[in-house]
Amino acid sequence: MQTPRPGRDILDRALRASWLAAIFIALVLAPSHPYDALSLLAGQLIAFLHFIFLRKIVKLFTEKRGGAGALIAIKLVLVYGGLMALMSWGRVQYAPLCAGFALPFAALFLKSMMLAFGAGPASLMRRGKPAVLVAMFLALAVTSPARAADPLPSTSGTHGATETRPGDAATSDPSHPQPGANAAEAHHEEGAAELPNWLVILHDWNPGNPVINWLDENQVIVFAWIAGFLFLFISWIAMRNAKMVPGVLQNAIEWMVESMENIAGGLLGEKHIQRHFPIIGALFFYILTINMLGIIPGMKSATSSLDLTLALALITFLYVQFWGIRNLGIVGYLDHLAGSPRDAIGWAMLPVMLPVHVLGELAKPVSLSCRLFGNIFGEDTLIVVFVGATAMLIKASLVALAVPPMAGITALFMMLQTLTSIVQALIFSLLATVYLYMMLPHEEHGPDESHAEPHATH
């Protein structure tokens, strides 16, 4: 396999893939929903232009050539002007527009994942085109029943999912109790994109109990606690009789911790890793446990809620800022936030650079939390859609037709969920490490940036 060139190659392939996906979905949508298809393509076009301009701007900046200002101005007019014009067009459909806009982002994310596993498009093709065909048929299979059934108004919206609570579904209509498997369907029809966990079933069984009510209302906290205790319990079991020649569990845990320490240590360096590994390792193992918990039937990934991921990201953010202040000192930290002005132009740009830096710092934790939440929530939603579709087909007495393929697809997505759980936990902790690395003092830099005094990466 040729050495991947991060940036250009991945971006080109991601854009190509997103165009293919957008055209394919637009063709499927066009006969029944022409404006949806148009909005989707418009969103894709805007995102495509955004990336093309961005690549040029980044290239100009990294190669230290002029002309970036004009390019930024053209981009602002074309991309943001285009977006404004689309918004003011009365017939535009917002959901497909956003979906089209998000397609290249999703493709870019998937491509960078593939880079990690060394599976470029070439290796996929080597494995044969049937895989691509199957994927297309699956996509069709997913879109057509979803459109035919159509009662999925809020499965894509996080607010709808969190506001329409499963408990409310049961209490608002007490004449139709939904125990066990039927609750999945009721859930699905109410628009809450989650499978019923044991708390929902418990609540349906005894809706009046205040303790159960409290637990049901604070599901995220309960499952986060369960994951935390599980994590502590497994570590305690593994390490209570630590031996020089370890047992199976001790060996597995030691291997995981050492691997993680090596990865984080490779980024931070030996000097810093001893001090910062406790929080990086804890983040990784805690998120991993939470994510994996969602695979067990009756449980839920607490990371499929933005509340928890935002809290984790906030902890990371505060930790990074704390170490920034501690290492650079208050003055040095403020200097870093202001973009280290050293001349008159630097000071004149201060009112602009300060908010830019602050916004950049703020974007990091939000990006961390949104990615983790988006991935886990997306996986959960996919599984719910398939389970819901199976339930619908069972209700229509199509058991023999529905169950085997649907069970297969659901199992496939559960395998994918396991993989994403590990990858997302790793990426969250790695990015936390990178943000920390950007804030910690380090002497070794590129040849043009070497300073004797400690400084953070600007």
């Binding site: 991060p6 940036g7 991945i10 955004h50 961005l54 701007i57 980044v58 900046f61 990294t62 930024i72 602002l76 982002f105 870019l108 994310f109 960078s112 994942m113 880079l115 990690a116 050492e258 320490e261 090596n262 990865i263 240590g265 490779g266 980024l267 360096g269 030996e270 890793i273 602009v352 908010p355 830019v356 830096h357 916004l359 950049g360 703020l362 974007a363 990091k364 939000v366 990006s367 961390l368 949104c370 990615r371 790793l426 990426i427 790695l430 990015l431 990178v434 950007m438 590129g446 990466t457 600007h458």
Partner: protein, 76 residues
Amino acid sequence: MTGKTPKKVTGWRQVGLLSSIPFILALAPIIGFVIGQQLDRHFRTGPWLGIILLILGFVAGVRETIKIVKLSQQED
């Protein structure tokens, strides 16, 4: 224990860094706009602070992207 960065780690670091670009690009202007809108509401300054912070958010997003691309290309 923490020797020279293995090649695989560099790959992971690149994945982490590069996959954060879309989020930072999309979120920085949104965060700017939301903060700007809140400030507008507080100071009654119409749409101006929202628009200014939206543009600054866009600049911050591009700036972070450049920083991330540079960092991902940096050899360990």
